[in-house]
C-alpha cells in the first residue's frame, strides 16, 4: 500500500479488493486442484480400462483404502500442529491383535473392542508422553514406537493369523447403508465431524496456531502440551478404530497387518495439501486426496498395470504434489 494514499482512498481500495480476493481464494486452493485431479484421473482410468467406470465397483474397492484414509484424517490434525506420527500402522496392528487375542480368550466382542480401543489410547499416550513431557522430536519417537508396537504385536500373536470371529462382526465391507458400504459411511462421518471440529471450534484454531508458531502460541496462553497430547491420543484411538475395521474386513488378524501403511497415510495427508511444516492443511483436502488415491489405485489395478508402475506413479505423485502445494503456499505469502 502506498504511503501517499489518504486513508479514505486506501479504505476504498481495500474494499474493492475484497470480493475479487474471495473468489480467487476459493478457486486457487490445493483442494480445488485435487478435485480437478480426481476428475482428470477418473476420466483417464475409464479410458484405460472399460471395467473401471462402475460406481458399485469403485465403492467396493474403496473399502480397501478407507481404513488408511480414516487415519489420514487424524494425522492431518497432528501434522497441522507441527508434529508427525509414523507409528500409526503399527498401532493399527497392535490394537487389532489385542482385539483378536481377547476374543480368542473368550471375552465378549464389545469388551474386546473396548480393550482394543483402550490399547490404542495407551499407545497414543506413550507417544504423546515422550513428545510433550520429554520433549523428544516426534519423528524419531514415532519411528521408535512404530518398531516397538509392531514388535509387541508379534510377541502377542506370533506368526499366526487369528481369526474365527463371530460372523456378525466379519465382513463390514459387505454391509451397506443404501448403496454405500459401511466403512465408507464411517469415513465420511468422521471427515465431517473432524472437519467441522477443525474449522469451527477453538481447539481447531489453536491447532493451526500451534503449528504456525509454537512459541508464540505458548506465550498467548494456549495449552500446547495438552492439545498435542490430545492429538496423539486421537491418533492412537483412530488407529485402533481402523484396526478393528480391518479385522472385520479381513476376518482375521496378523501381526504384520498394514505394514508400510504409514507411508500411504502420510501420502494421503500430503496430497491433500497439508504442509509438513505445520500450520496449514484442511480436512477437506485430505478427504479429497483419499478419494483420489482410491481412484488411482483402483484404476491402475483394474487396468492390469504392474505393481512397479504403481509404485513409481505413487512416488512421483507425492513429490509433485508436495512441490505444487509448497509453491502455492509460497506464492500465497507474496
Amino acid at each position: 500500500m502506498s504511503s501517499t494514499e489518504t486513508p479514505l482512498q486506501a479504505a476504498h481500495g481495500r474494499k474493492s479488493l475484497l470480493p475479487a480476493l474471495r473468489w480467487r481464494t476459493i478457486i486457487i486452493r490445493p483442494e480445488t486442484a485435487i478435485l480437478l485431479l480426481i476428475v482428470l484421473i477418473a476420466t483417464l482410468a475409464s479410458r484405460l480400462s472399460p471395467y473401471f467406470a462402475n460406481i458399485a465397483f469403485i465403492l467396493e474397492s474403496s473399502t480397501y483404502y478407507v481404513e488408511f484414509s480414516l487415519i489420514a484424517l487424524v494425522l492431518t490434525l497432528v501434522i497441522i500442529a507441527g508434529e508427525i506420527d509414523l507409528s500409526i500402522a503399527s498401532m493399527m496392528a497392535l490394537s487389532a491383535c489385542v482385539f483378536a487375542v481377547a476374543v480368542r480368550a473368550g471375552v465378549s466382542i464389545p469388551i474386546a473392542m473396548t480393550a482394543s480401543l483402550g490399547s490404542g489410547l495407551v499407545m497414543g499416550a506413550l507417544n504423546g508422553f515422550l513428545v510433550t513431557i520429554f520433549r523428544l522430536p516426534s519423528i524419531v519417537v514415532t519411528i521408535g514406537t512404530l518398531t516397538l508396537y509392531r514388535g509387541l504385536a508379534q510377541v502377542l500373536v506370533g506368526d499366526r493369523s487369528i481369526g474365527s470371529f463371530p460372523s456378525w462382526f466379519v465382513g463390514i465391507d459387505f454391509r451397506s447403508i443404501g448403496r454405500v458400504p459401511v466403512p465408507v459411511v464411517i469415513f465420511v462421518t468422521a471427515a465431517i465431524v473432524l472437519g467441522l471440529g477443525l474449522s469451527s471450534t477453538i481447539y481447531g484454531r489453536q491447532i493451526y496456531q500451534i503449528g504456525a508458531n509454537e512459541i508464540a502460541a505458548r506465550h498467548v496462553g494456549i495449552h500446547v502440551d495438552r492439545i498435542k497430547m490430545g492429538l496423539f491420543l486421537a491418533s492412537g484411538f483412530g488407529s485402533a478404530i481402523a484396526g478393528l475395521m480391518m479385522a472385520s474386513r479381513l476376518g482375521s488378524v496378523r501381526y504384520d497387518l498394514a505394514t508400510g501403511g504409514e507411508l500411504q497415510i502420510v501420502l494421503i495427508a500430503m496430497l491433500g495439501g497439508t504442509s509438513i511444516f505445520g500450520g496449514r492443511g484442511t480436512i477437506l483436502g485430505t478427504f479429497l486426496a483419499s478419494w483420489f488415491l482410491v481412484i488411482i489405485a483402483t484404476g491402475m489395478t483394474v487396468a492390469n498395470i504392474t505393481i512397479n508402475a504403481q509404485l513409481t506413479v505413487l512416488g512421483l505423485l507425492l513429490i509433485v504434489s508436495t512441490i505444487a502445494t509448497n509453491i502455492f503456499y509460497v506464492r500465497c505469502h507474496q
Binding site: T43, N54, F57, G251, D256, T259
Partner: protein, 334 residues
C-alpha cells in the same frame, strides 16, 4: 478454463459410472496371481502357463502384489473379477483370507483354481488345486536325502519359513514322523527347528546361530529356496562345508554355484514350469468341456505326461521329487 471437450469427457465419464460391466471375448482369459512379484520360482510357473496358453490359444495375464503378506492379493482378485476373466488362478498367501473374494468371483461365473499350494480346510472355495508334487512325499524324501549325505547318523536341524505356513508345517511334521518311526534313521537326531521367515537376512542369522549353538551339527535341511540359499551361504562363509551338509528344496539357478563349488552335494525340487503348463491345459480343457473336474478323471499334457485328478480335486504334477546334483544341474534354467 475447461475446454468443451474436457466437459464432454467429464459428462461421459459421469454417465458411464452407472453402466454395468460386460465382457465379450471368444478366447478364454486366464489371470494368474502369484504370491508376489519378483520371486524366481513363480516366474517358472508363469513361463509354463504362458507357453501353454500360446499353444492353446488363450489370453494369459499375470499380475501380483509387491509383498506376500496374507491379504495383499485382495485388490487384485477384486480387479480380475471386475474384468470378468474366465479363470482366476492364484497361489494364495493365506488359506482363508480370500474366501469371500473367491465366492464372489465364482458367483459371477469366474472359475477359481489354487496353484502350487492348497487351502487346507477351505477347499470348497476353489474348484481344484494343482500341486507341483505329492506333498506327502516331501518329508520322507528330504530325510532320505539328508541321511544319504551324512551316513544316516548325526544331529540335524531344519530351517523353515514361518510358523504359519501350512505347507511347511506339513512337511516338518512329516519329517519328524519319519525320523521317529523308522529304524533306518535311528541314529539321526533332530535338534531343533529354526524359522527364517523366508527372509535372507533372518535365515542367515538363524543358520549362524545354529552353527554356534550346536557344534556337533552334521546337517541342515531347508525346504525353502530362500532358506536353502541362505544356509548354504552361511555354512560356506563359516568354512564348515565339510562338517555340515546342507540340503533342502531350492531352484537350480539359485543353487548352481553351491553345487559347483561343493558346498551343497544335492537338493530336491520339481518343475514349476511343468506345473504352469499343466495348469494351462487343465483349465482350458475344463472351459472347453473336454475335461471333467471329477476325481478319477485322467487327461494328457504333452511334455509332462498323464495326469489324474485326485481326492478333493487335487492334481499332482509329478509324484516324486527331482534330485539335482552336479550331474544334472546344468540342464535346468529356472
Amino acid at each position: 478454463m475447461l475446454l468443451k471437450k474436457d466437459l464432454l469427457a467429464i459428462v461421459l465419464a459421469g454417465a458411464s459410472l452407472f453402466a454395468a460391466t460386460t465382457t465379450t471375448s471368444t478366447r478364454i482369459s486366464i489371470a494368474y496371481i502369484p504370491r508376489s512379484t519378483g520371486n524366481p520360482y513363480y516366474d517358472g510357473v508363469i513361463d509354463g502357463f504362458r507357453h501353454g496358453c500360446a499353444v492353446l490359444g488363450c489370453d494369459f495375464t499375470t499380475i501380483g502384489p509387491a509383498t506376500s503378506d496374507a491379504t495383499s492379493q485382495i485388490p487384485f482378485v477384486a480387479a480380475q473379477t471386475q474384468r470378468g476373466v474366465n479363470v482366476i488362478a492364484i497361489t494364495p498367501n493365506s488359506p482363508d483370507a480370500l474366501n469371500p473374494m473367491f465366492d464372489r468371483a465364482r458367483r459371477r461365473g469366474t472359475h477359481v483354481f489354487s496353484i502350487n499350494t492348497d487351502m487346507p480346510g477351505n477347499q470348497s472355495h476353489r474348484e481344484a488345486a494343482i500341486l507341483p508334487v505329492d506333498f506327502t512325499k516331501i518329508g520322507p524324501s528330504q530325510i532320505e536325502l539328508m541321511g544319504s549325505l551324512i551316513g544316516y547318523a548325526g544331529d540335524i536341524a531344519i530351517l523353515t519359513t514361518t510358523t504359519d505356513a501350512p505347507d511347511q508345517n506339513l512337511w516338518v511334521e512329516d519329517m519328524k514322523r519319519v525320523l521317529a518311526g523308522s529304524p533306518k534313521y535311528a541314529r539321526m537326531k533332530l535338534v531343533t527347528v529354526a524359522y527364517g521367515n523366508d527372509d535372507p537376512q533372518k535365515s542367515t542369522t538363524e543358520t549362524e546361530a545354529l552353527i554356534t549353538n550346536y557344534p556337533n551339527l552334521k546337517g541342515i535341511i531347508a525346504p525353502t529356496a530362500v532358506g536353502l540359499a541362505a544356509a548354504a551361504q552361511a555354512v560356506e562363509t563359516a568354512k564348515k562345508v565339510k562338517q555340515i551338509k546342507v540340503t533342502g528344496l531350492g531352484t537350480p539357478n539359485q543353487m548352481r554355484r553351491f553345487i559347483q563349488n561343493g558346498t551343497v552335494t544335492a537338493f530336491q525340487l520339481w518343475s514349476p514350469y511343468n506345473e504352469g503348463l499343466l495348469a494351462a491345459y487343465f483349465v482350458v480343457g475344463l472351459e472347453k468341456g473336454t475335461i471333467k473336474n471329477v476325481p478319477g478323471t485322467t487327461f494328457d499334457v504333452p511334455g509332462v505326461g498323464k495326469m489324474t485328478i485326485g481326492k478333493d480335486n487335487v492334481i499332482n504334477t509329478q509324484s516324486d521329487l527331482t534330485v539335482f546334483n552336479r550331474s544334472n544341474i546344468d540342464q535346468f534354467h529356472f
